[in-house]
Symmetry: C2
Subunit: 191 residues, 2 copies
């Protein structure tokens, strides 16, 4: 963008130079010269006008091309901004969601706790589905092949019944926003 603006500046400067040239040419009219020198002068003027018209045409084409490029890029930027618009709020919410899920793990020992837990589980589901509606998804872990793009291995262990390089435990949930990883899962991987 900065480059385009520089180009336009250059262009404006050159244009005003061209306009001055035009003005000065108009001043010395070839009224007292003979026809042959008048013709010579006219041919010179034709050459310079042709050059000038060509220069404007070149500049016009360049500005049009810059304009088209700018539009294409602006559209792409706007699409990306729209696609990942929730990213900042999602990142802010994830720690609250972690704590929410930790708190929900309590074993209810009485009816009041049980009822409060049920209410809170509903709130949690609502929150998760609000995030989902914006394109937020949990990254799959246990049983999946380890993928450094989505998983952060914080431990390795030998574990029976698992292929090597498979996620065998999840320590912290990871999340994607559409195709972008917002936070990788923290996992344990089989050797």
């Amino acid at each position: 963008m900065v480059e385009n603006e520089k180009d336009l500046k250059d262009l404006e400067t050159e244009q005003s130079a061209l306009s001055e040239e035009e003005t000065s040419e108009q001043h010395d009219a070839p009224s007292e010269k003979n026809e042959s020198s008048e013709l010579e002068e006219a041919l010179g003027k034709i050459a310079s006008l042709e050059a000038k018209a060509e220069e404007y045409e070149t500049k016009l084409l360049r500005v049009q091309a810059d304009f088209e490029n700018y539009k294409r890029r602006a559209r792409m930027d706007a699409e990306a901004a729209q696609k990942y618009r929730a990213q900042s709020l999602v990142s802010e919410i994830l720690p609250a969601l972690d704590n929410f899920e930790r708190a929900l793990k309590v074993e209810a020992a009485d009816e009041q706790t049980k009822s409060l837990l049920q209410g809170m589980e509903m709130v949690h589901r609502q929150l998760v589905s609000a995030l989902k509606a914006e394109g937020v998804e949990e990254i799959e872990t246990v049983g999946k092949p380890f993928d450094p793009q989505f998983h952060q291995a914080v431990m390795q262990a030998e574990e029976e019944g698992y292929e090597p390089n498979t996620v065998i435990e999840e320590f912290q949930k990871g999340y994607k926003l559409k195709d972008r990883v917002i936070r990788p899962s923290m996992v344990k991987v089989s050797q």
Copy 2:
């Protein structure tokens, strides 16, 4: 934007018309005419070239002005998209937040409920502060003058100790995202 694109189309058509004109002029070279008619022809060509150069210049200036306008508008659009980027997720989250706050209103009758409630209150504070970090704020209600921009009056009542047209009770919280009302508060207003 559509207008600009139409302009560019027009321009391209006109340009190719101009190029054809130029080509045809170059074909009939004035080699066998006398000097006077050559001069006449040259002067005619000068006039047409001047018109052509001027036309290009005018178009160049128009495209440059369109380009600048487009850039200004694209910047403004991008700023607005950035400013209210969280709006969609916020709107989705508000019903969960309402239920969260409703669930927190329980009177804890035992230690376990009390401890669960404390944990959930912390989660709630974290959630509210995540929303706040993105520019979400509760709309002030009780004791404030009724403002239809922020408050939706669902009841009116005479109430001692309140000026007329004052919010005296809040039924549902309202929220702003920066300067934009996401949901007005539902309130009771003094007559």
